[in-house]
């Protein structure tokens, strides 16, 4: 049990750190707007990971954990506010889901075009110059989705038509 808490803590902290560094890298290299999904993702992940680790640490400390002899109780209280402040978890999940779904919802566009075209300066949001990026940046963003294939778009899937 206690070893599980320790192992899970190590795994989750390291996962969250890599995701946060990835978001920071995207902000530096592609821009804040293009990194919006990842920025929302870390805002959900980091406080939740920290709260699970701190909660287990409190449990391991017994009564000491909830007292002020250790910093754990105050840490828990402070970090719990971060699931609400600067956008609650639910708003960030909504941002992520909407952006994910947007790639499938644009009329006449397949997943490839809708994920990349607006960055190149086409599509309904092209009027906003801040959203237009160079081809290199677009390839960097899009290659996240097809990293191993040299950005070859996948064939559009065909679905069976069900009789009503």
């Amino acid at each position: 049990m206690i070893q599980t808490w320790i192992a899970e803590g190590r795994i989750e902290i390291d996962q969250a750190r890599l995701l946060t560094l990835y978001a920071a890298w995207l902000m530096d290299n592609v821009g804040n707007k293009a990194a919006r999904t990842e920025i929302s993702a870390i805002k959900v992940v980091a406080p939740n990971v920290a709260l699970r680790v701190i909660d287990n640490a409190i449990q391991a400390h017994g009564g000491g954990g909830v007292s002020d002899d250790f910093p754990l109780a105050a840490m828990y209280a402070g970090i719990r506010t971060l699931r609400i402040a600067d956008g609650p978890d639910e708003v960030h999940r909504m941002v992520i889901a909407r952006r994910e779904l947007r790639r499938y919802a644009e009329s006449g566009a397949d997943a490839w075009a809708s994920s990349g075209a607006w960055l190149m300066g086409a599509g309904p949001r092209a009027a906003d110059p801040a959203r237009r990026l160079g081809r290199e940046s677009v390839l960097r963003v899009v290659s996240r989705y097809w990293p191993a294939t040299g950005c070859t778009p996948p064939a559009a899937p065909t679905f069976p038509t069900h009789p009503r």
Partner: protein
């Protein structure tokens, strides 16, 4: 992509780790004594000023700005992230390096959108660590998770703006060192949804601005305070407008980007410290004939 520390980040990281070990962590006990002796939950203990002076001499000051300004070199988000994680290990560290929220976000938008006069009056003393600030957006009467709900009124009257509204969870406002609030409200409720909002700079001693109370979190009083504020016909000159009328929503978005990296990395630093405390505890204590660490 490459997450290796750049030479600059590696050098700063080394200096910061030394500062944490030599000064910040040992200062935690002194901080606690000074806070308890004062009897005031919003006391500004002298040890903080000592740590700030020391951090500055060590070149660990204002590291948070992601772009170069006339005051700072600027550090990329990826370079600052590992430093923020180290800062998260102690509640004293961010303020000691002048890298504490909400000032960091406020300083950032002042560098981006402030006029030279606004920068002289507010940004420079913030960068010098002489004053602190708060950011007033969230309101008790509406679901502020949707920022378009904000109701606070900022109405132009001649050469002045007149502000009326109520805010809460305004972090930092209880500190006597907090001298300015960046207030978000509506200048034009009839404009398109995301162009109704503006930000104005309001001195904390402006007549009509009242700190109603400092809200506790699970019973804890924060030293800087999470306050409820009321604005009752507060008047500021129109030159206190930050950016443009109607630009408040976009500026609020800009303010939060790098701040998210800071918050998340600091949070992970706190999680690392909790994990460390847990490991030390379970190795030292025994129950049912064996260390807690070997209980399954």
């Amino acid at each position: 992509m490459d997450f290796e520390f750049s030479p600059k980040a590696a050098e700063l990281r080394q200096r910061l780790v030394e500062f944490m070990d030599e000064r910040i962590i040992p200062a935690e006990a002194i901080y606690r004594q000074q806070m308890e002796a004062s009897g005031d939950p919003h006391f500004h203990p002298p040890v903080i000023e000592e740590l700030k002076a020391e951090a500055r001499t060590r070149g660990l000051w204002n590291l948070f700005l992601p772009h170069a300004t006339e005051w700072t070199e600027g550090l990329s988000n990826l370079d600052y992230a590992p430093l923020a994680e180290i800062l998260g290990r102690s509640p004293l560290a961010s303020e000691a390096l002048n890298c504490a929220a909400p000032d960091t976000g406020n300083m950032e938008i002042l560098t981006m959108f402030g006029t030279p006069e606004q920068q002289d009056r507010w940004l420079v003393p913030l960068l010098e660590g002489e004053i602190r600030s708060c950011f007033a957006m969230t309101e008790p009467a509406v679901a502020s998770s949707d920022a378009t709900n904000i109701e606070c009124s900022i109405r132009r009257d001649g050469d002045e703006y007149v502000i009326n509204g109520r805010k809460w969870w305004i972090s930092g406002a209880a500190s006597s060192r907090c001298k300015v609030a960046i207030v978000m409200g509506k200048t034009d409720p009839d404009a398109p949804t995301h162009s109704q909002q503006s930000m104005v700079l309001v001195p904390m001693d402006a007549p009509g601005l009242v700190i109603e109370r400092a809200l506790p979190v699970f019973g804890y009083q924060d030293r800087e305070g999470h306050c409820e504020l009321s604005f009752n016909d507060v008047r500021v000159p129109v030159t206190n407008l930050l950016g443009t009328e109607g630009g408040g929503f976009a500026m609020a978005q800009a303010r939060l980007g790098p701040g998210r990296i800071h918050h998340c990395m600091r949070t992970l630093g706190a999680a690392e410290r909790a994990l460390e405390l847990m490991c030390r505890r379970v190795v030292e204590r025994e129950a049912f004939g064996k260390p807690l660490a070997s209980q399954v």
